[in-house]
């Protein structure tokens, strides 16, 4: 059991080693390169703020996903829910683009959460009432929302004074997340993430809903036998998950971005799946995992600047984390044995 929470660390160490090997093959000094990747980005206050900035949406989304994954619902479309949340929240922000008022930001945030929730309800309803596969539906909806966003920022919502750039107007200051420190980009959205962590811990471990999620995740047959309202539960976990992703989307557009454009998320919704599993679907584990994975985003940017390698190495690292995590899990639960096979011993 202790090992169960230990394997994420093994996976991280292996990822760093693997990264070193890749850098070596690419002709870099691996120690130097890794330093650029993992140490340099967070060696100053600005870097730390950027780390938290990137960890915030990852953490929020992963918290939401943990509700789905724990109850055996495979919501892969958080990226779509994030985008749709951002569209709805952004739409509200644009309504108030020339107004100020303390009430605007809460409205925008709520609208974003509701947007994510509604978008997550689509795969949930299709699953509960039409028996569709939520993995496919939620995944495909990602592209729907991205194309919708594309259409909006190019077409009806594009900034009339924006020289046809594919982006909307800037939101008014009242639609922006307050910054925590002057000169740093870290904003109040981090409190949303922390609140989500606390709340999810409470819901998962202290409430009847959490108990139902736990039982359903372990055995659907038992959940049915106990008479849990299976359909309602699926809808609820998808709604929670969608709301979290929607909040993350709103956090991005009202935080660092300040308007809607095509690239509001560097695939946070997909990366958060890795975060959720690296954090063992545990609220506090997810905080830790989101920081680690956020670092791979930052490292990739630094590496691009200092080593002239594409920032997509970040995805390589994220992929490696997931790969090593799954591999360590596999090796944890199974024993490896090297057998000398005579020919004809097995026929495949």
């Amino acid at each position: 059991m202790a090992l169960y929470f230990f394997t994420p660390f093994i996976a991280i160490i292996l990822t760093i080693l693997g990264g070193g090997i890749i850098f070596y093959i690419l002709g870099f000094n691996p120690i130097e390169a890794l330093k650029f990747y993992f140490i340099t980005p967070i060696s100053n206050l600005y870097g730390l703020s950027e780390l938290l900035l990137k960890a915030t949406p990852l953490c929020l989304i992963a918290i939401g996903l943990s509700f789905c994954f724990k109850s055996n619902n495979w919501n892969i479309g958080a990226e779509g829910q994030l985008t749709f949340g951002a569209i709805v929240g952004g739409g509200v922000a644009l309504l108030f683009y020339n107004q100020e008022g303390f009430y605007i930001l809460p409205l925008v945030i709520i609208a974003g959460a509701i947007g994510g929730m509604i978008f997550a309800l689509i795969p949930a309803i299709l699953k509960t009432y039409f028996n569709t596969n939520e993995i496919l539906v939620s995944l495909m909806l990602v592209y729907v929302s991205k194309l919708l966003l594309d259409y909006l920022v190019v077409g009806p919502w594009s900034n009339p004074e924006g020289f046809n750039f594919p982006e909307t107007r800037q939101f008014s200051d009242s639609s922006r997340m307050p910054l925590l420190f002057e000169g740093l980009r870290i904003h109040a959205g981090i409190f949303l993430a922390l609140a989500a962590v606390m709340l999810s811990w409470f819901v998962l471990y202290k409430t009847y809903l959490g108990f139902q999620i736990k039982v359903s995740g372990l055995s659907l047959k038992t959940a049915k036998y106990a008479g849990f309202k299976g359909k309602t539960m699926i809808l609820v976990v998808f709604m929670i998950s969608g709301a979290c992703a929607g909040l993350a989307g709103v956090g991005e557009i009202t935080g660092p971005i300040g308007q809607l454009h095509r690239m509001i998320s560097p695939d946070y919704g997909f990366t958060a799946i890795i975060v959720a599993f690296l954090g063992r679907l545990n609220p506090f584990g997810i905080i830790f995992a989101s920081l680690v994975v956020a670092l791979t985003y930052l490292g990739a940017e630094t590496a691009q600047i200092f080593l002239q390698i594409p920032k997509y190495t970040g995805q390589v690292f994220q992929g490696m984390i997931l790969f090593f995590l799954l591999a360590s899990d596999y090796l944890l639960f199974f024993k490896v044995k090297i057998l000398s096979l005579k020919k004809n011993e097995f026929r495949h």
């Binding site: 108990f211 372990l218 036998y225």
Partner: protein, 499 residues
Amino acid sequence: MATDLRISNISKIYPGCIANDNVSLQFKSGKIYALLGENGAGKSTLVKILSGVVSPDNGEVFLNEKNLKLSSPLDAKKNKIGMVFQHFNLFETLSVFENLSIDATEDNKSLRVRINEILKKYNFSIDLDVPVLNLSAGQKQKVEIIRCLLRSPKVLIMDEPTSVLTEQETEELFISLKKFCDEGILIIYITHKLKEVLSLCDEVAVMRKGKVVSVSQTQNERVETLANKMVGQKLAKIKKKINISKNKDEIFKVKHLNFYSDDPFETNLVNLNFSVKKGECLGIAGISGNGQNELFQILSGEIITPNTSIIFRNKEIAKLNPKQRREYLMAFSPEDRISQAAVPELKIYENVALNNFKSSNFFEKGLVNEKKIKEHSKKILSDFSVNTDNVELKSQFLSGGNLQKLILGRELITAPELLICYNPTWGLDVGAINYIHETLIKINDQEKSTILISTDTEELLKLSDRIAVIYKGKLSKIMPSEEVTPEKLGVLMGGGSVD
């Protein structure tokens, strides 16, 4: 050539339990050996050691005086030790031949020839090219046996082979086993069914708490003597006094129960009608796979069927889910203890919380009331003599018998008016079976009703006031149990008719 299998001083210790304590046994070909013991007595561990699944902490296995190193199932196969497990390892959607060719070492042509030789020699009639899912349990078992025979085994270990078979299939199996034995294959037969030991085996080793407590010739044993050795104490005989009174109220009434399914693994139910009186036990007999699963799930509310009427205590409950039915004081004990009635990964008290009533207050305003659940769990553990008082223990550490006591306790502590149970003693040892039978009788004595769906005819005859048989989704007429004999039940269970 004669085979001689010797187990010498085998020990295997799991955390908190000694599964095998210095076990030594000797087997010689030409005889059928029974390995008898309650659940948790250490039979399975010993078998797993012999088949290379588990390595012993201590001790050795000798086959014809050669010290075997069994560190994987492959080693067991190489050393000609064959094993037929209780649960079949077959791919349901592949054909029989494809299943057999998966781990074969020769080409398909010669394999087919050899399989046909085996079919002919032992008079097995199996079509090699039909998908396994179309076979009966007995035929599936034969496929497993053929798989072993293809490797010309010296030792054949059968783990609880009759738990899924009909009477007739059991007889066929016994004939085959005797044939194998005559051909010099050493047979080790693992079971907890005493009568089978007496009718099939020559020698019997009884295990209790990880130790071999007796090795004897079966001709010197009787059911009672074996049972006492197995349990380690004298068992009280229980007998129910039949409890039919025509005037009693019908507490539960099912009308027009129909169920149609597209799933080839499910059985359709055709117009079932029956009722249960207050204080009565209605037994439903049948060979497994004749619709019992579906019937149980419909009675418990896991499956809702249209146009069915289920009246319970004068209320229509056919549309209610299991939780709502529990509020009306029904209780359910499904067949599958490990993945349905309880979750092994959950702690005892969490499993107790699965049976959640409004009045139990386990969850107040949506919050978990851990203290209340734990108190309630403690009471169940002591009232139903479950072998632990630690409610924080994960249920996977309970033996089958203790888990079933926990489940029954959980269902009964709320004093339900009707308990529906399905194979409540499946796979349990004599001691636990006795306890559960006593409990079920006690419920009827307290004027509460039970529906007992079971594949164990002995159990049904012992506990039921009235019995019906389910065959291919249809229910026979309901008979008072004193008019029912095992033979009559056997005929009905096989699809025949009486009078």
